[in-house]
Symmetry: C2
């Protein structure tokens, strides 16, 4: 230990510290200045930025021995407070520049350091600054952040006022559809909102710190786990293994389809008989400090019999592959699609047939800036409480309850941390909840587990790659008359939702077009690579990459303009979706009409700007996704008049940065404002099974649509009940006096709108009752020397129904498109040795994403939606990567069939060499 | 555990908490919002005040189960920050309303709650508010706090500006003698300065939390200590007993006088053979959390053989009393005084003789708002580092080193916490340092021990009561010609400094007057009551109470005005102090001249305002105290030009709220300003044995005088060395280029001014080379129904030499007088069963202290003092209680010979009943 004098946020301090600890650890762990976040822990992301002696630094890699004596340090807490916000914080709120908010303090501090250098930065300089200082945001697509810094500089320069950055209430008092700032924005921009890691630090004394003992191989039989040496280590309370788990020690996906050859109980909480993938949890060390837990992890002795690891679907499908889950074949589910006439004769009749094999979208890692984190404790009633980033509280309680030996909602309750960093779907699966629950049950004590970023990458689920073979038969005019598809889903070792994901292939390959006749089948394959969890747009990026790439190839073959080919085939009255469902609106042609002039301008610009070294190109794609869980899908909301005149609206509309608080507030307010309720009079009670009813998981762009409808239902009941004959509304006291109930239960279900699940053989059904539609326009520049692709501009014409909140919506679109750029060009988690951190996994930095992103919304209210809204979040990641792929082809003639379009692949294409691909020989794997 | 949503300082939070924990524990322990302090832990002091839902509350007794959901809580951190201070914080800085600063956040928060109710409070309303809300300050005498609140209200009302509350630099750039705010004021008023308890909370993970196993009896033989059950308790790392202490397991006072019958090695670190007093430390539980440590304390089994407890000097002096320290008599030291002629014949010749027996000042408890606290750790070089409230770093390292088996300054280093709450002298003894040191050495780990307030009261030393028999012989004109004195010091069980304290009786009984002939002796007695530690004005309040009370009795006997009697006897050229020393100035008559008109007005006012129910009275006393450690006493200071042009001034001038930082800055600056150095260019390095040289302990009003002289010496060397021929000064680079050293060692010692220790038989010597002088005027009102005494006004004419800083000085005077009021009327620690907390120990609340306190300073520069300064801190507590006692007599004719003058004693006097007193029969206890 050494003692060090420092000046932090104006306070003169002395600190006793371990010189080997980092400044971030000391700020957070010792001072509880948790505004400073830690993510990558290796100076790749800037979440930990603080200013030291006038210089922006990464506190996560700055060891205390390198902090000079008397260092003057500023953290986000020293820049402004909720009651006294800095210009940057005000501007970030205004522009929705904080979505999940986890990277925000780093950006605010980085922005402050920039403004300390110059008060007149240009947009390019702002972007250069954040690039240079490696500030990464995974939610916003960066544009709102640049907007905010530009406005903050204006405010500091005195060119605008605080009022200009504040919300202006319209005269009608309506916030629906405005840029009302999300309630959590102040906490996010001031660093005062506690995320899981912050929350864990602030748990009661005696809370145990957990560290995982994880498998370092991908497939093995477990011979023994010896914890005795580890349990003797200082500070260790217990090492928990599968023997300590009180229930079935399994996590179940709950809805395993009947034709699935597995039983759905294949995912252990703590591995008992086998290791199924690298990073699988074998034991949990519970100690008084992180360090003590870490020290003891190395002392747990695990004896394994290593088995052959099947690191891709083709490997696991090989005839000699052993069963990963003994008793269940590695190919364990088939989803067919049979729509319209038999396609075999139609293909023969077609003027043109185009086909491609093994169209492939990589194993995209979610790369949230916040890694996974959870706490568990016994509450005062003896129930197990688990807090996490879960975006499906009730669902997860049901999924982990049997494994722990607990009953969801009876003695097991889940809730979210106050702040939840982005999940982008990976928290649709309970990744960590069962572990902390098991530890608390084994020790009786509160437990806290925060994965480090390498664990985040290796322990949480990933987007499952599809191998798609696809064939279109079309008329010479370009009308597609038949589609044949075959797709294989590499779902990793755990079957949870694997069948559901496979069904998405039936629903979204070829979506956007009125294809009357389809035949095909998809297969789910167990492998030893990363287990498949949900990822934004779940299944559609894989499906639409195949059909939108093939659509471009068809245009080439027909020598047609690819946009016009799409226009010709786009949904029109009489057409149906691949599921046979009639679209609820026919906006695709309108969206193409919106894009067309921009597309033509882009083609011109590409021609003008292209040089032999830098080839410009333009590509388009269509995107479609459904709002909901596939089939019947409901939510419940409570609306209650409080004694103080406020209305409390309660539901579990989980937030992971997408703006659940804003959605709930806007939707509630729109219903309640007729009785004079102002936004500040609405108390939101959210995301806690103890306090609020089930809204259902926050995934599949369902919440605004499904939960929103329940909100309207509940609030409307309240308004109607309180309305007096003279048109005014009862007070709480009046209602109580008259015996009028003050609390109402709002409910809504897609089944009310005749949703049905799709058939397992035909894929036909009415899985979603509202969809999002979009058309993507990508403009790229290909460096012919290196093969490196730079996206110059992205345009999206979007139909998401009516708009609940413009700022939140814009943020969703920008952020989804940025992830699409990553998916197209850089993001991957194929090579366990190589893909170990944010940088090597290919996360897009600010200059990987164009500042020029244009979103045009079609005013297209949905009859079934709350105030016309549909969903939003998945749309921007449905097909932007396909547009980029098509733009690459347009730029340089290289057709990339397997993403990401890494420079070496493009370069190989440019050089006329073979582009390396992963192939599979077995086409109908159920019948090997 | 329960989960609770709360809003703290604008942040929306959820907290998992134990519902039985207090809000203060959660704010501090979980959130590290350590601006909120905890002291009494029972709603007696307001240090823990926070505002909850608009109401001021005691967070120390507010259990979390009683904090409503969604409570809106404001702590000091939410009121203002160092970079954005609230009006109250600015005004507290301006008025020196934060001395030690430990109570300050509570006062700021309380003041905020008041201003939230009214922006136009009167002084009376401000005092009523703090009385009602029980805000206790032990340093300031409250007046500066009321001043500050009044000004803060003015600022909020817009009647004054921030500039009005800011320091205005005089044109000559001189801060010496001004109201320049002390450097630590901002940290104290914003709650950002870390005191020991805060520091402990912010120690590295893995720091052990210590709890003491303490004796519940006052005297016993230890048969066994069994730690085995305790060591099995959860979270317990080790239970440390005397067996684990590596050295002699004793604390030594170092300077045990040769004639002391003990060897000075009587004080154990951890008791081994005997328990000597209630609360003695038997073992230390070291655990991961406070709770775990506390739980295990109860499991330590201690087997004792209880012995008779001698709870006062008379009891321990009884012939049948056993030796508390076997081998050493209970009466173990004698200090004689022989000055001038034999007094026996003089007494016979005297016109008037007046005498009193057993004049007694009670066992005053220090009652700092901050209880004792320390941390220890091994540094990176393997040295033991101990941080505490020590006000004698090098001294304490030497005192505890042998006991721990360490060498001070070699492998043992002490330093102060950044913030140190008031000690008022109790930290002249190392109370807790050895315990944490032993624990760290036994475990190898950082250790943290914070006493609770009951432990503070029972484990730390107290002012040692004197039993004084005193006789004056005087002429009929009132000139005292002889004094005979006999005093017995109840020093508790530990001899440390007991001889030194006893010598104070020889030095200060009768001080202030030119008494040529004195005979007498004082005795130090070991008892089983609280061990004697230093307390402000050390020895003089006991001594001067005796002589100033007897002086009043002499005036009565002579029918003289008591002020004029004092004037007649006051030091004039030719007179000497009781030690035979010639006073360095003769200011006592001037001080009486200053007081006289005020005294006469007071007498008139008393006559006018007296009623049969409320009798007013006026009393006076003189006070004298020396500056220094008694005999030779030195300090070292380093002055160093830094490369950036600043000057670093380093010394261990320990701060316990008295303003060491301000003293060092003002004195340094006054020397350095000739070379153009501004205050902000002086870097103070203080109170860390690792970094700065010994300034000597911060006690005995020595620091400004002794250390100050060393500061001048060091800084002057620097100035002289850097001065160029043209009258300008070299830069750092110039000095280096010319080979002129940039660092100078300043030294000073009272031996340079011929200080000598007093003789053990005669008490004659030259113990101090500078003194403080004062005259106290007390105006009181006695409630004749209850006997309760209220001090209406206190006036002090003070000669402290030149003034270094007016604000700091005023605060010292007000605060000392307030403690004098407590000493006179309420403060006590006699009854272990009764005196258990601040309230029952009689700490003065704001309305126990008059708002009307007037201090008049005599401009009386000292030739030997730095820029004319003498000392300051002890003066106001030398004799205010005597003036109050005399005023009581003046009001109602009741003479209180033993303090405190509790209502029941005064009432007994008023009713003509016997006033209960403690007596002793043995007058010359060394020769029983």
């Amino acid at each position: 230990m050494i003692k060090k004098p420092v000046h932090i946020n104006g306070a003169n301090m002395k600190l006793v510290i371990d010189p080997e600890m980092t400044l971030a650890d000391v700020l957070r762990g010792q001072l509880h200045l948790t505004g400073t976040k830690v993510s990558c822990d290796k100076a790749q992301c800037g979440a930990c930025n603080v200013i030291m002696n006038g210089k922006l630094i990464f506190s996560c890699v700055t060891k205390m021995k390198h902090v000079p004596d008397d260092a003057v340090i500023t953290t986000v807490e020293g820049i402004g407070t909720p009651d006294s916000m800095h210009a940057l914080q005000l501007a970030f709120v205004k522009h929705g520049a904080a979505q999940c908010g986890f990277c925000t303090p780093g950006f605010i501090v980085s922005g402050k350091a920039l403004l300390d250098e110059t008060l007149t930065p240009t947009r390019v300089e702002v972007r250069d600054w954040f690039q240079k200082h490696k500030n990464v945001c995974r939610c916003t697509g960066y544009k709102p952040i640049v907007d905010a810094v530009m406005d903050a500089a204006k405010l500091v320069r005195g060119e605008i006022t605080v009022q200009d950055l504040s919300f202006k209430m319209p005269e009608d008092g309506k916030i629906w559809g405005t840029d009302y700032p999300r309630p959590s924005a102040v906490g996010k921009t001031t660093g005062t909102l506690d995320y899981g890691g912050d929350f864990g630090i602030k748990m009661p004394p005696g809370t145990l710190h957990l560290k995982l003992v994880q498998a370092q191989v991908s497939h093995a039989n477990i011979l023994s786990i010896d914890t005795s040496e580890a349990e003797k280590m200082p500070g260790v309370y217990k090492v928990v293994t599968h023997k300590d788990v009180k229930g079935k020690n399994r996590i179940t996906g709950l809805i395993t389809f009947p034709t699935n050859k597995g039983d759905g109980w294949d995912r252990p909480i703590l591995c008992d008989e086998k290791v199924f993938q690298f990073g699988d949890a074998l034991a949990i060390v519970c100690a008084d400090t992180d360090e003590h837990a870490k020290d003891a992890v190395a002392k747990v002795q695990v004896e394994l019999e290593v088995l052959p690891a099947y690191m891709s679907a083709p490997a696991a499908m090989a005839p000699d592959a052993i069963e990963i889950h003994p008793g269940t074949p590695n190919v364990y589910f088939r989803q067919g699609i049979i729509k319209g006439e038999d396609t075999t004769p139609l293909m023969e009749q077609a003027d043109v047939v185009v086909a491609a094999e093994n169209l492939y979208v990589g194993r995209q890692p979610h790369l949230p800036i916040e890694s996974d984190v959870a706490v568990a404790y016994y509450d005062d009633k003896g129930n197990v409480q688990i807090m996490s980033k879960s975006i499906g509280l009730e669902l997860h309680a049901l999924m982990i309850g049997p494994g722990l030996g607990l009953d969801a909602g009876k003695n097991l309750f889940l809730s979210q941390f106050p702040g939840v960093g982005g999940t982008f779907g990976y928290k649709f699966s309970p990744t960590i909840e069962a572990l902390v629950g098991a530890a608390t049950m084994a020790t009786g004590l509160p437990c806290f587990l925060n994965l480090d970023y390498y664990q985040q990458i290796t322990y949480t689920g990933k987007r499952s790659p599809f191998f798609v073979d696809l064939k279109f038969g079309a008329t010479k005019e370009g009308k597609i008359i038949a589609m044949e598809s075959n797709w294989v889903v590499d779902h990793g070792p755990y079957s949870e939702f694997g069948d559901l994901l496979t069904r998405r292939g039936a629903q979204f390959i070829g979506a956007g077009y009125g294809i009357a006749n389809i035949r095909g089948a998809g297969y789910t394959v167990a492998t030893n690579h990363a287990w498949g969890s949900a990822f934004r747009a779940y299944g559609s990026p894989q499906s639409l990459f195949a059909s939108e790439t093939l659509m471009d190839m068809l245009a080439v073959k027909l020598d047609m303009d690819p946009l016009e080919l799409r226009y010709l085939n786009a949904y029109r009255p009489g057409d149906t979706l691949p599921s046979g469902q009639v679209p609820e609106v026919y906006s695709m042609t309108q969206l193409i009409d919106i894009i067309r002039p921009k597309y033509q301008l882009a083609l011109k610009a590409a021609r003008i700007h292209s040089t032999p070294e830098k080839r410009r190109g333009v590509g388009v794609s269509v995107g479609v996704y459904g709002c909901g869980l596939d089939g019947p899908d409901g939510a419940e909301v409570w609306a209650e008049l409080l004694q103080d005149g406020r209305v409390q609206v309660s539901t579990n509309w989980e937030d992971h940065g997408q703006g659940a608080d804003m959605g709930l507030l806007a939707t509630s307010h729109e219903t309640l404002r007729s009785m004079g309720i102002k936004p500040e009079q609405i108390k939101l009670v959210m995301n806690d099974m103890n306090l609020a009813p089930a809204g259902g998981p926050a995934g599949g762009s369902r919440s605004q649509f499904v939960v929103g409808n329940a909100v309207v239902n509940g609030c409307r009941q309240l308004v109607n009940a309180l309305k007096k004959d003279d048109g005014t509304y009862m007070t709480y006291d009046e209602a109580v006096a008259k015996g009028v109930p003050t609390k109402y239960i709002g409910q809504w279900n897609t089944a009310f709108a005749d949703a049905t699940a799709c058939d397992v053989d035909t894929g036909q059904g009415r899985p979603f009752v509202s969809y999002m539609y979009g058309v993507f326009l990508a403009e790229v520049e290909v460096d012919t020397k290196t093969g490196k692709v730079q996206v110059v501009k992205m345009t999206l014409a979007a139909d998401v129904g009516s708009i609940a909140n413009k700022t939140v919506l814009d943020g969703q679109m920008y952020g989804g498109i940025a992830q699409g750029i990553g998916l197209a060009l850089t993001e991957n988690f194929e090579d366990l040795k190589k893909h170990r951190d944010m940088l090597s996994c290919g996360i897009p930095y600010i200059k990987d994403v164009p500042d020029d992103i244009e979103i045009i919304y079609l005013d297209s209210p949905r009859d079934l939606g709350p105030y016309g809204a549909s969903g939003t979040g998945e749309l921007p990641l449905t097909a932007p990567h396909a547009a980029i792929g098509n733009a690459i082809y347009n730029a340089c003639g290289v057709r990339i069939l397997q993403l990401p379009a890494l420079p070496e692949k493009v370069l190989a294409g440019l050089q006329g060499k073979e582009i390396p691909v992963v192939t599979r020989s077995i086409k109908d794997p159920m019948f090997v």
